[in-house]
Symmetry: C2
Subunit: 308 residues, 2 copies
Amino acid sequence: MTEKIYKVIMIGAGPSSLTAAVYTTREDIDTVIYEKATVGGLAAITDKVDNYPGFPEGIEGYQLAQQLEKQAKRFGAVIEYGTVDSIRDEGKYKVVKVDGTEIKAQAVLIATGSSYGKINVPGEEEYYGKGVHYCATCDGAFYKGKRLVVVGGGNSAIQEAIYLSGFASHIDLLVRSTVKASDVLQKKLQKLVDEGKITIHLDTLTDEIVAVEGKVTHTKVTKKGKSSNVNADGVFIFAGLKPNTAFLNGSGVELDDVGFIKTDLKLQTNIPGIFASGDVRSGSTMQIASAVGEGATVAHSIREYLQE
Amino acid sequence: MTEKIYKVIMIGAGPSSLTAAVYTTREDIDTVIYEKATVGGLAAITDKVDNYPGFPEGIEGYQLAQQLEKQAKRFGAVIEYGTVDSIRDEGKYKVVKVDGTEIKAQAVLIATGSSYGKINVPGEEEYYGKGVHYCATCDGAFYKGKRLVVVGGGNSAIQEAIYLSGFASHIDLLVRSTVKASDVLQKKLQKLVDEGKITIHLDTLTDEIVAVEGKVTHTKVTKKGKSSNVNADGVFIFAGLKPNTAFLNGSGVELDDVGFIKTDLKLQTNIPGIFASGDVRSGSTMQIASAVGEGATVAHSIREYLQE
């Protein structure tokens, strides 16, 4: 019995790899995708996607995910459930370990995405995408003229709070200890505080996100042992973004300081034949449109690699 | 009367700028797009788009174009018809001349796409997208097991003929004079000729593309003054791809050897505040998915630029 060697193994079945798989399988390059949780990735658990091009009135995230999956399968992509433990480069082929079993391919695409940092409070998971958000670019525009709570005090929290102030009527910024952001950002923030657009609450713990009849109404907070409520129509949480790259430990794939995968313009990593695209890539914009675009680009690069 | 200065002028209303406009206008960055011909660009005149992610059964090109337009307009993008004659950099703002009138903006996105080289024979325009094609990656998969004619003898024609041989049952390659391609490509081509997959016709002029009841059946050719017919279900023409950048003469925007616009990873040209995305960009993959992805990316870069 000859051991099967795939042309391409893709890790993670989000929009980027599903797009890449449309391209590879349409060209009869046999492709298997391994997914450990939900096909469609973060897109699948997003309530409404308003800015993915082609759907003028927006589309529900799970619906878009299903359509991407259907399209990839139509051309012959195989999606398997399993957790990838490691990747090993053997030159001519790569060895991917899935749930303990070694599988070989000539090329590998890593498209495992990234995960939003959680604050792990009641209501956070329950109202995700329906009042609780982690991406200002994606969901900020739903809150024109509304009251928001922003949780976080780091660079990205401050930057996104400033951005969201362009939509919201008012923002309460809940900071666990003190604001830790660049001078430029602090100056911009102060200006918005002076204008009454943003109120900063330092030393403030966010305890719970509360909804009435499924609609977020307020957050419960504690400041110096004293509890109170902060009203909000929506809550944006910026507690860091974590690339899903832990399984690459010891693989030799080069990561940036935060753990995102470095690639060249063709989306190839430092190891020939191992590619990365979408939210897991260093420099990604964390948008479905970009992930999909990179999927088309990386499929071209994979084809070129296989032809050599 | 104060002169209006736009935040962003986008040149060319194809998928890339329509996507960028969804992002900019959704963030209340006022945006005007100038289009000289068809909203949707090449996508709009493509019969069927099979590989744009989100439409499992494919979508007609003009339908996709309309949906992209509707989405951009929904958030407030303004589309004007007019031909851009030139761009001038004045540092803090850019001056775009449209049909002789000067219009100012803080940032400019060039997304004018590229045009396929034509051979200008009867039938070529009439059956475009319905038997006559210019993009193998886009349309090759529609010809599994079918007979094809490929017109051209340069590097890209040979490369695409080799690629198309993966789908077609047989390919007739019509070359005006001799094959001018790299040794590697010539070697691969010869292998396919030896296998009987490709027949090369040198010194052969393509005179006409003929269809019966709207279905392409053959091409009329002339070799050394003698006319004959070559049967085909489809004709792929590779007569060069021309970036639509003639209006940039004297603008200072840096182009590559062929005339495509050079950008950095953030899709900014050598001139701060002037950006480029989609098919007009050097290194582009000429895919709608990629153009759209670059639209999302460049909108981020434009936002950053405007905030500085």
